[in-house]
């Protein structure tokens, strides 16, 4: 009658495993980082290989203010997670709102920069290799900022209407990992595009 074997079921005390949300996000970051590396390699490979202008030196200016905004949003999202851990929900909402605001400023800065480049300097993705690699690399990063902002805004809404509580702090931490990654990528993009490539 016995169809299946029976495994002894002794309680293994202290059996704790890593959080699957964090492990999953780390994997996603590894995959995303590989995509960015390929785009960065393409950018570096094509520096100075455009057959026509404009060149980066002609048209790019250092986006110092928006960079400061984006990098400091890493601190605010971290503060939001800490606040939620201590069940300070209002404080959490405040820090999340600050993060969304700072990320929004960064995105607006990128939009303004692209507007200038397209309408005043005549640089599009079709113009030359610089245009091709610049818009694709910065655009890929901006896409990630947009995705992050949508998720942060959702978190903000849930925080404001009280749906997000102390027990969700691990989920918010997973989201914050993504946001830190987006910021770290910007450091690389900034160095490659605006410092090394200019």
């Amino acid at each position: 009658m016995i169809e299946a074997a029976v495994i002894p079921n002794s309680p293994n005390e202290g059996w704790e495993l890593p959080s699957r949300g964090v492990v999953g996000m780390v994997c996603l970051i590894a995959a995303e980082a590989s995509i960015f590396i390929i785009f960065v390699v393409a950018y570096v490979f094509y520096i100075g290989k455009s057959v026509s202008g404009p060149t980066p030196k002609d048209v790019l200016t250092l986006p110092v203010f928006t960079t400061i905004c984006l990098l400091s949003s890493s601190l605010t999202v971290h503060a939001a997670v800490s606040a939620l851990r201590q069940s300070k929900r209002n404080l959490c909402s405040l820090w999340l709102a600050a993060t969304v605001l700072l990320g929004g400023i960064f995105l607006a800065g990128t939009g303004r920069e692209w507007y200038e480049l397209i309408y005043h300097d005549g640089l599009t993705i079709q113009t030359n290799l610089f245009g091709t690699t610049f818009y694709s690399l910065v655009g890929l990063h901006a896409t990630h900022v947009i995705v992050g902002l949508i998720m942060l805004m959702l978190a903000l809404v849930f925080s404001l209407n009280g749906a997000m509580t102390h027990e969700h702090s691990e989920k918010l931490e997973v989201l914050s990992l993504y946001w830190h990654f987006v910021d770290a990528v910007w450091v690389v993009v900034f160095l490659v595009v605006y410092v090394l490539g200019r």
């Binding site: 029976v6 495994i7 590894a30 590396i37």
Partner: protein, 573 residues
């Protein structure tokens, strides 16, 4: 030793009523499922469907090449055939079938009730499946319905600038790009899931040092997917930008580089081979010990070798590009890296041999395929080392010798091990044994067909026959060889059809398997066949690498010998 829980507490003995269900309900059940076993079976079924499709494409090509000056298919159709055959076999047969087995087995082997992210699992499957349909939709939509459609014809590695809008007008190349992009998303989703499952869902007592080797190898494969498949995704995005928005990544006239595409493609392409072969190794790691009636030889060395293969395989990609002219420095590096990868692979082969050594070997069909795998994989590896020598590669790159080499890996090693896995786990998945008689016919017919085709395919390659030509002249001296190669394809076709028939026949008429037909040692054999939706009524708890051995031999448990942790030393959970 823990006290044994009475059977009644572990097994759910309530008899499940199986009322006649409408087919729509069954369909709804499968489409909306998040159960890892059903998703695994869907992956396998989907891959088997495409295996037949892509195998049929191969058969058409072999008919075309059987005799010189043949006009069985036109050159255009031939180009589409090899493109579709390669793309389908790698992305819609190899990857899904391996993920199917992984999905099915990993939670069962680590004593979990499902994957870490069940809904992501379903999403990954359906997006991959959609990718496959999109690729084949190009037969209708490639040039629009009025242009009667056309499949992509740029080859499976789609070298630039052939893929540029000027040289590949119409939408067939776009379908190719989009389908690979979507499958890539699905692949990364499933790999993420496998890593999270293997790390975070283990049952109590299942330390990393007790993880079944199959799970270890899937872990390594999945980690490789993140760094290998993502570059392909990035390259496909660039190609899409080139084709749709007029950017210049691979546009040589605007200063773009065609060689850059080769690098990006092979940064994916070569690790991909290891992504496909590591799960085959994983099956061998489970099957060979069970049919040798011995524990695997050198468990830690096997893990270390797998991780080593994972790392080294990321630095060998440019051995596909020796003929491009990368210069002596780069050539030397990639020659040495490619040769180095054979060291951990050799460790694995020796460990399998040592597992067989002195064992009480049971030659079931599953074991026969596994032994075939061992020898054929060795030969495939040896021709690989020949090709890794740059000057030798200059002579033979783009010839049928290369085609013979990688088919020896993909068919002789991976497909043989997959057949072995089917005979081994089919009883668990369906509750019935596959017919051993039909299985033996399948094995011998396939073995003969395989060697007729792929042993003799090396020769026209050495005689200078280039790959991807649609026909050849009679006076080249390739005639007899191509005839032999094509005749082998017929044996393989018959054997595969027999295998499909065996699976269908055994599902209804096969011998009832019971929970543990092979007297095996890993946790999946402790559940009923097929397992209940919840896998384990109670989460098991293990004390060694072979929990079922401990259970069957309480007087001599493995846990007795595996206490490698020093007292008071650090124990990794």
């Amino acid at each position: 030793m823990a006290t044994q829980t009475p059977v009644t507490e572990v097994l759910d003995l309530t008899v499940e009523k199986a009322p006649q269900r409408r087919w729509l309900e069954v369909l709804h059940d499968w489409v909306t499922t998040v159960d890892h076993k059903k998703i695994g079976l869907m992956y396998i079924g989907y891959a088997l469907f495409f295996l037949v499709v892509a195998g049929f494409e191969a058969l058409l090509m072999r008919v075309q090449l059987a005799v010189p000056n043949n006009h069985f298919v036109s050159p255009q159709v031939f180009n589409r055939l090899f493109t579709m055959h390669g793309t389908t076999m790698v992305f819609f047969v190899g990857m899904p079938i391996l993920f199917g087995f992984g999905n099915y087995l990993i939670p069962l082997m680590i004593g979990a009730r499902d994957m870490a992210f069940p809904r992501l699992n379903a999403f990954s499957f359906w997006i991959s499946a959609f990718g496959g349909l999109l690729l084949y939709f190009s037969y209708f939509g490639g040039s629009g319905l009025y242009g009667a459609g056309s499949a992509p014809d740029v080859g499976w590695f789609a070298y630039a600038p052939l893929t540029a809008q000027v040289f590949s007008p119409g939408h067939s190349t776009d379908y190719w790009t989009l389908s690979l992009l979507l499958t890539g998303i699905g692949t990364i989703g499933t790999s993420l899931n496998i890593v999270a499952t293997a790390i975070c869902m283990r049952c109590p007592g299942m330390k990393m040092s007790r993880l079944p080797l199959l799970v270890w190898l899937y872990l390594v494969t999945s980690c490789m997917v993140f760094v290998a498949v993502s570059p392909l995704t990035a390259a496909q995005i660039m190609l899409m930008l080139d084709r749709y928005l007029g950017s210049h990544f691979f546009d040589t006239q605007a200063g773009g580089s065609a060689v850059l595409w080769m690098h990006f493609f092979w940064i994916f392409g070569h690790p991909e081979v290891y992504i496909l072969i590591l799960p085959a190794f994983a099956f061998a790691n489970e099957i060979i010990p069970v049919f040798s009636r011995k524990a695997i030889f050198g468990y830690p060395a096997m893990v270390a070798a797998s991780v080593g293969i994972g790392f080294i395989s990321l630095s060998v990609w440019a051995h596909h590009m020796f003929a491009v002219g990368m210069g002596p420095g780069a050539n030397t590096f990639f020659v040495l890296a490619t040769m180095a990868v054979s060291v951990p692979t050799g460790i694995k082969i020796f460990n399998w041999l040592a597992t067989l050594w002195g064992g009480k070997i049971r030659f079931t069909v599953s074991m026969m395929f596994a032994v075939g795998f061992l020898f054929q994989f060795l030969i495939a590896g040896l021709t690989g080392i020949m090709l890794s020598v740059a000057p030798f590669d200059w002579q033979l790159t783009g010839s049928y010798f290369v085609v013979a080499h990688f088919h020896y890996v993909l068919v002789g090693a991976i497909l043989f091990m997959l057949f072995s896995a089917f005979y081994y786990w089919y009883p668990k998945m369906s509750g019935r044994m596959l017919s051993e008689t039909m299985g033996k016919w399948h094995f011998w017919l396939f073995l003969i067909g395989f060697h007729l085709t792929f042993d003799f395919m090396h020769v026209p390659g050495l005689l200078g026959m280039p790959r991807r030509i649609y026909t050849y002249e009679a006076d080249r001296g390739w005639m007899i060889w191509n005839m032999v190669v094509s005749s082998g394809a017929i044996f393989q076709t018959i054997a595969t059809l027999l295998f499909v028939y065996n699976m269908v026949w055994s599902y209804f008429k096969g011998e009832v398997a019971g929970a543990d037909p092979w007297d095996a040692w890993t946790l999946e054999w402790s559940t009923t066949s097929p397992p209940a939706t919840y896998n384990f009524a109670k989460i098991p708890s293990v004390a060694s690498r072979r929990p079922l051995w401990d259970l069957k031999h309480p007087e001599d448990p493995d846990s007795h010998y595996e206490t490698t942790e020093k007292p008071g030393g650090e124990e990794r959970p």
